[in-house]
Symmetry: C2
């Protein structure tokens, strides 16, 4: 049984608390399933700025590169918000994506029965919603040239959105592959009526679709998609889109489930390597109080087991444990209807470990 190396980046805010619970799950998996993990902790984000003067220290990158997968808690907080660009946690996030070649962000937006009420959408609208946003993560306007210049009309800022055919091909293929494992329906989102990158995007997705004759492909404009997600979220299955649109739509999709505290995500590159993290942020307002919800991070471990290691049995055990603990009525404060009966971060982690 091969030892799997996992780089663990606790990060900022509630990051360390929720990651600690996920590590308990790793340990329990070793006991139950005989898998072997070697974890190595690395500094990243705000804490790395404080301790090393950069959000992404070289040794952190080296640790990630020497690992089979990365588990990330959360990064950022108001403390670093007004820093110059190089000294901001986000810069580390963009840097690690690029450096590790994580060109695809997978964000499942699913409904947890016990959280249906937490959504602002009507339950009958939400019914049956189970979608995945596949977001291109290392191209587009995020990484194109950006600068300022003086012109005769005064100062001007420029961002450049660039996509080449191969960048679109690889994310399209990945989305088609995911669609094949689900209901074989793929929605490609672009703004082809305005943007040249979107026209290339659409052409390329159509060309790749020839290799996936069983997948039903449609194209939706980004403004319309923002509307349809609200109007009939259950009509979507897999959505694939470029970096900036994916940033907006994946957050919209996550929020409409009402389950944002429970959603996990994967950032993938070529091969099986991946970075796994909860969708929620670092929640500095509740950090250090031991009341944060570790479920999204624990489910990120299950996602890692499925997508990077192929440990489907262990993943199912985690997912089932989470379901059973929730069904038994246990809640952290963020998802409790009756806040007075809410349990803390470690109690929730312990219950899930015990239920595995």
């Amino acid at each position: 049984n091969e030892v799997k190396k996992i780089a663990v980046i606790a990060g900022d805010g509630i990051g360390p608390e929720v990651v600690a619970e996920a590590e308990k799950v790793l340990k329990r998996t070793e006991e139950l399933f005989g898998h072997k993990f070697e974890t190595e902790h690395a500094l990243f984000g705000g804490i790395a700025i404080d301790e090393r003067g950069t959000p992404l220290p070289d040794d952190t990158l080296a640790i990630c590169k020497a690992s089979d997968a990365v588990l990330l808690g959360a990064v950022g907080g108001p403390k670093w918000d007004n820093n110059s660009k190089e000294l901001r946690p986000e810069t580390g996030l963009l840097g690690i994506r690029k450096a590790l070649g994580l060109f695809s962000n997978i964000r499942p937006a699913v409904i947890f029965d016990c959280l249906k009420e937490a959504s602002t959408l009507k339950p009958e609208v939400l019914e049956g919603t189970d979608l995945i946003v596949v977001r291109e993560l290392t191209g587009g306007i995020y990484f194109g040239e950006k600068f300022r210049r003086e012109t005769e009309n005064g100062q001007e800022a420029v961002d450049t959105c660039v996509y080449n055919v191969s960048e679109i091909e690889r994310i399209a293929r990945q989305a088609f592959e995911i669609a094949l494992t689900r209901s074989k329906k793929l929605t490609s989102v672009d703004k082809a009526n305005v943007l040249e990158t979107s026209r290339l995007w659409r052409e390329t997705v159509i060309r790749i679709s020839a290799d996936y004759p069983d997948v039903e492909l449609d194209h939706v404009l980004v403004d319309n998609c923002a509307m349809q997600l609200l109007r009939r979220p259950s009509s979507f299955d897999v959505i694939v889109t470029e970096n900036m649109f994916g940033d907006i739509l994946s957050d919209e999709a996550a929020m409409l489930t009402g389950s944002i505290g429970m959603l996990s995500s994967a950032s993938l590159g070529e091969g099986s390597f991946g970075l796994y993290e909860p969708v929620h942020g670092s929640a500095p307002d509740i950090a250090g109080q031991g009341i944060s919800n570790p479920i999204a991070t624990i489910l990120s471990v299950a996602l890692m087991f499925r997508l990077t290691f192929g440990y489907h049995e262990a993943a199912a055990s985690i997912e089932r444990a989470v379901k059973n603990v929730l069904d038994a009525g246990h809640r952290t404060g963020d998802i409790a209807v009756d806040k007075s009966s809410a349990i803390g971060t470690t109690a929730m982690g312990d219950l899930i470990v015990a239920a595995m």
Copy 2:
């Protein structure tokens, strides 16, 4: 009493039907309030492509420029969707905005009591929602240089997002002015943690805010805004943002009200000139059947009266008439709960005219 010249662009799909009802309202306004209008029809969009070989003929532009305001129905449809870029209705839309200097798009998202049920959001979440999205309309990635090029990595597409300080200043001022007439709360939306144009946007908005000490300004990242619109729509009042983000967020905001068939919009430039149109599209699937809802177009006339002509009394009369007709239970098919009792386009127009 000065004669006001209005260019009338019926456009495609249901455009001609809904515009015809709005023209009845103009006529009735002349009788009731003594205002004088001179309307001139112009070809635009798909129909202009068919009849003139271009979506925006020169004489249409000339008619608009010689007018005090433009009333637009809707443009586009599947018939022209696969045309080359110069022969697409959208190209006309972008062209007319630029040619008329319409740098600001004002999209009120309000709740119509009788349509609350039509929203997919829970009524208690929607309660009190009344917001305006102010979208920059002639800059950003829509109008920057776009091209393809061959590189060593294959074909590549490029879009350029450009904003200069004065473009941001004028839209910011307009948003602050609108905020002053409402609850003095302005939310500026950007992606300043990633984009250079957003950083210039934020700096400029903050600088302009010094001239509006009574307006409370806050900044929200676009991904977070897409979430917060869903989570607590009533917490927003005036939102100002750049072109691409505004396209997405204004559609999201419109859809969450459940009233998309009833919402009007204004595109404004310097001075009082404006183009007014319903938020909904050309609905080719129901065109020509006489069942479309003319209310959004009629309310666009009211918006024209307020923003371009300062005819507040006449505007109020239209708005009141719409409310009374709805309160009396009259509905077109799109907003009827009992579809069998729905009335047609002209019947709805006639009822509103009679109620003015």
